[in-house]
């Protein structure tokens, strides 16, 4: 047995090294100067290389860099509000699709769900031009509102898809029982079904936030200068000489919220109160 | 086909408490056994030790004279039916039944008659060409059983609550078909269940388990007529056995002042022991032909259809009496008799005789 656990821990150690290596590499690089980067792989500050804050300064208006605060704020606002709206609308739509039968001609519930998902089958480039023209028509190009609308169109299908699946797993008798206990259908949804679907909502929210946060393509095609989002701003750092230190710092800064989300979601899901409450 | 011998086998899942306490059990060749008990009593642990899904922490498992304690499941030639049907949904019933034989390299000419034979046995002949996905839950469970039976090298058949996912109303039919099939093949069968009726219907011998131990082992009739303690007496039969506190008076036992038992062995009992007699509700008789009997007050009668269950009160104790409804018992006084040959004596909760 002890041998087995030693092997287990060894395996975990190796894997952690695998996962942590790129992050460590980015962290050290962000504190290096051009000299430090080109003089081979070194990891220990002051011993391997002379640490410098130049990379980090360049993100906040320092020499040869950008001001990352505005794009960062834009990304937070756009991704956050688009995700929030998608989750609210998606949850409501999914509940309807899970609980009530709709029928228009040959179109039934399963077809409607498919229509939602089919939005994501097309490659982004196909959507880019219509989106561009629509936003132009609405005079919303290069605005946060325009981006929020586009992101809702992209994120809503994900939310609906995940939540339909989740609601289907919540026994229908639970809503029925709530109604017999005196709840209207909407109250049954709010007081009984929703509290039992928090883990589903959490997963859907996580997916929406990750997709939204990481999107580069639409942020790039639908904005110019006023409403730059974080991924676009980072790419614009690249010039004739690649500033590895600035890129590393910005990579770390942009991945940070995702790590926070992952930790929060993991914590919430592992609390038994959310997951597996329903047999 | 083989005997299964658990030699001083015990198992703990890593803690000091044994899920299955050390025990020596022999399952004879060709007989049907039921492991009966509530969840957590150790019955599934015992089954997994036999099948090899679990290596016991103590003792040896001998199947057909061979020590298989550390042998993986696949090599033990044991067929197993689980709570949930395990079948290939995408294949037909025929292909499902033929699969274990194909894996053993049988040629087609040999497979066809063997599959037909097993399908006939289980009443699946008409379903052979159908896709397994289309079967009802009970038919799927029969196919799982068939996949185990079709091999001719099976030494034992293990069933772990195979009726769990079956609609309560289909259970009778499935139970009958499994029973008939296992009776015909004469495998050694070990059947795990928490349902008394299933165990008593199925098995030549029942092992009643509780808290990791076999409490009583015997034929269904023995368990019913001479349960070894109050637990078994209550668990087997419906309603359970009546247990009545009695006092000793020389060689006699008095219940509420009425003599109910007389035997010289009673006189030899150590003083201070807690004495009880047990009698099944159906064995309580009504006094007639000049016998005085024990006066009882009827508190209520439950009509079950073919039988009535009478709630009677005698002094400070209650007694259930089962009677055929045609006897038409009315509320009011009643005189009952506890036939001596049906009365069991329990000393400190354990059957004496």
């Amino acid at each position: 047995m002890p041998l087995l656990s030693i092997l287990k821990y060894l395996a975990i150690l190796v894997w952690s090294g695998f996962v942590m290596a790129p992050l460590t590499w980015a962290l050290t690089t962000s504190f290096k100067t051009a000299n430090g980067v080109t003089s081979g792989p070194t990891y220990l500050p002051w011993i391997g290389y002379e640490p410098s804050l130049a990379g980090w300064r360049s993100l906040f208006g320092g020499a040869g860099g950008i001001d990352i605060v505005r794009p960062y704020l834009n990304s937070v606002i756009v991704t956050g509000s688009a995700s929030l709206i998608s989750i609210v609308l998606g949850t409501l739509a999914a509940y309807g699709l899970s609980r009530f039968s709709y029928r228009t001609g040959f179109v039934k519930n399963a077809d409607i769900v498919f229509f939602f998902i089919s939005q994501r089958i097309m490659p982004p480039i196909v959507l880019a031009i219509p989106f561009f023209l629509m936003l132009q028509f609405l005079d919303l190009l290069d605005t946060r509102l325009g981006l929020v609308l586009v992101y809702i169109a992209l994120l809503l299908p994900i939310a609906v898809w995940i939540m339909v699946d989740f609601f289907d797993g919540v026994p229908r008798q639970i809503d029925e029982m709530a109604m017999l206990d005196g709840c209207t259908p909407f109250e049954a949804f709010r007081r009984v079904v929703l509290p039992n679907s928090l883990s589903g909502i959490l997963v859907a929210a996580m997916f929406c936030l990750i997709f939204g946060w990481n999107d580069f393509f639409f942020a790039f095609t639908l904005t110019f200068t006023d409403t730059q989002l974080l991924p676009v701003a980072i790419v614009s750092l690249n010039s004739s000489v690649t500033p590895w230190w600035s890129l590393s710092a910005s990579a770390l800064i942009s991945v940070a919220p995702l790590i926070v989300i992952a930790i929060v979601v993991e914590r919430l899901l592992s609390r038994g109160t959310l997951a597996g409450a329903i047999r | 086909m083989a005997t299964i011998h658990l030699e001083q086998v015990g198992h703990s899942y890593g803690s000091a408490v044994y899920a299955l306490e050390k025990t020596d059990i022999l399952f004879e060749d060709g007989k049907t056994y039921a492991l009966l008990g509530p969840s957590g009593c150790g019955k599934t642990t015992m089954l997994n030790v036999i099948s090899g899904l679990l290596y016991p922490s103590d003792g040896r498992v001998i199947v057909g004279g061979k020590d298989v304690t550390r042998m993986p499941t696949a090599k033990r030639n044991i067929a197993q039916v689980f709570q949930f049907p395990v079948i290939y949904q995408s294949k037909t019933v025929y292909e499902n039944l033929a699969f274990p034989l194909r894996c053993r390299g049988w040629d087609k000419a040999r497979i066809a008659p063997r599959v037909a034979e097993i399908a006939e046995l289980l009443g699946l002949t008409a379903r052979l060409g159908q896709s397994a996905r289309r079967l009802t839950a009970d038919e799927k469970q029969l196919v799982s059983l068939g996949r185990g039976l079709v091999r001719n090298d099976v030494s034992a058949l293990l069933m772990d609550e195979p009726l769990t996912v079956i609609d309560p109303h289909m259970k009778f039919d499935l139970r009958r078909r499994i029973k008939q099939a296992s009776d015909k093949t004469r495998h050694t069968v070990v059947y795990v269940t928490h349902d008394q009726n299933e165990a008593m219907t199925f098995a030549d011998e029942v092992l009643v388990m509780s808290a990791g131990r076999v409490v009583q082992r015997g034929t269904p009739q023995q368990l019913f007529e001479s349960p070894c303690n109050r637990y078994v007496g209550n668990f087997i039969g419906s309603p359970g056995m009546n247990f009545l506190s009695v006092e000793r008076d020389g060689d006699r036992l008095l219940w509420q002042g009425f003599p109910v038992f007389s035997d010289e062995r009673v006189g030899r009992l150590a003083p201070g022991a807690e004495l009880m007699v047990g009698i099944r509700p159906e064995h309580v008789a009504f006094a007639k032909d000049g016998v005085t009997g024990i006066p009882a007050v009827v508190q209520g009668v439950q009509h079950h259809g073919n039988v009535d269950v009478i709630d009677a009160v005698i002094g400070s104790e209650r007694l259930k009496v089962k009677a055929r409804s045609s006897l038409a018992v009315r509320d009011g006084p009643l005189r009952i008799v506890l036939p001596v040959e049906r009365t069991r004596l329990y000393v400190d909760g354990t059957l004496l005789f």
Binding site: P171, Q173, I174, E176, M177, A178, M179, L180, D181, G182, C183, T184, E187, V192, P195, N196, A277, I278, R279 | P38, D167, P168, H169, F172, R175, R176, K179, Q180, D183, H194, D195, Q196, N197, M200, T201, T219, P220, Q221, F224, E225, F235, I236, G237, S238, P239, G240, R280, P281, E282, Q302, H303, H304, G305, N306, V307, V309, K322, R324, S326, A328
Partner: protein
């Protein structure tokens, strides 16, 4: 003062679930509805609860129209076959839910919930989540939630069917006591088990394929089933029913057996009939009797049911106690002709004669 269904019909996707059902459920009594799977029992309850719309017919309660109200205004409580509770709420909050929804004062909520939990034997489990309870306990929570409201109509859809055998027996015994606080309610209890229907019901309704076959006092239905079909449904193990003719004071069964008809039977007009005999009226005899071969022996509680192949077809024999009877064993059977039921040969077999209690 009652719940009345008048010619209620309901079908979905071409399948008939309720077929012209007219029933009256009185306040303060327990009615058991007995029927096999898919007999329409569950649909009946769902229609009363307002969970399923009816196609035709009316529902009234105390003379007021009831069928047009939405489910949440019907004052109906229901317990399902599956153990359905609110997973996110503690046992206490589960039971308190319908009271809180009705804005009952907090002090009264606490009092009522605690007293109901006490009745169902879960006083110590108020803080647990339903998922931390055993199946039997979960079903008690569901029952407590239905009881706490003192609803006008209490519907129970095979509430014990998914419980272990011994637990079922225990809860069945406790049931009347559990309902003691609901003296004013109309209680409807669905079951597939004749014994359960018999012992719990003040009244018994027998359903089959969406229709009501018979309704009445349980012992009356058991003693005088309206038809051969009802007789089979209300008897467990099923009544053995054999076709035959009555002629000149003799019963001639299909399969060849002939018996002298007892007094009342002999007085019936000659002709073709169906004859029924209950399993507890058939006895195995040593030597002689109707020759039979045991095909299957089944233990049920404290009885053994033998399925026996005879010249009359399959007969079911009920033996008291637990016995081991090997399949294939030859046995002789006998029964008293006085205990025969006589049903019409046509259709569902209307009852023509039932043995009385005094006979035989």
């Amino acid at each position: 003062m009652s719940l009345v269904l008048n010619s209620v019909s309901l079908s979905r996707g071409g399948e008939i679930h309720l077929d012209d059902v007219s029933l009256r459920f009185d306040r303060g009594g327990l009615t058991t509805v007995l029927g096999r799977t898919l007999s329409g029992k569950t649909t009946l309850l769902r229609a009363i609860a307002g969970l399923q719309e009816t196609d035709r017919g009316t529902l009234t309660r105390d003379g007021e129209p009831f069928g047009t109200l939405p489910a949440w205004k019907r004052d109906v409580a229901m317990v399902y076959q599956q153990f359905i509770n609110y997973p996110h709420l503690s046992v206490f909050e589960n039971v308190a839910f319908p009271l809180r929804k009705r804005k009952v004062a907090e002090s009264e909520v606490g009092h009522r919930v605690r007293s109901v939990l006490d009745v169902v034997g879960l006083a110590a489990f108020g803080e647990r989540k339903p998922s931390q309870l055993s199946g039997g306990q979960q079903q008690r929570v569901a029952l407590a939630r239905a009881l706490v409201r003192k609803a006008g109509v209490l519907l129970l859809d095979e509430p014990l069917v998914n419980l272990d055998y011994k637990l079922r027996e225990q809860l069945r015994e406790e049931f009347r006591g559990l309902l003691a606080s609901q003296a004013d309610a109309t209680v409807i209890y669905n079951t597939t088990e004749p014994a359960e229907a018999m012992m719990l019901g003040d009244r018994l309704v027998v359903m089959h394929e969406g229709r009501v076959l018979q309704a009445g006092v349980p012992t009356a239905v058991f003693d005088r089933p309206a038809s051969a079909l009802v007789a089979r449904i209300v008897t467990d193990p099923p009544m053995t029913i054999v076709a035959g003719t009555l002629d000149g004071g003799r019963v001639l069964f299909e399969g060849g057996l002939a018996l002298d008809a007892p007094g009342l039977l002999a007085a019936m007009p000659p002709g073709r009939y169906r004859f029924g005999i209950r399993a507890n009226e058939i006895e195995p005899v040593d030597g002689g009797g109707i020759a039979g071969r045991v095909t299957f022996g089944e233990v049920s509680g404290s009885e053994t049911f033998l399925h026996v192949e005879t010249m009359l077809g399959e007969a079911v024999v009920q033996l008291e106690g637990v016995h081991r009877v090997e399949p294939g064993r030859q046995i002789g059977l006998s029964f008293a002709p006085e205990r025969l039921f006589v049903f019409a040969a046509q259709g569902e077999g209307a009852l023509l004669h039932a043995p009385g209690h005094g006979e035989g």
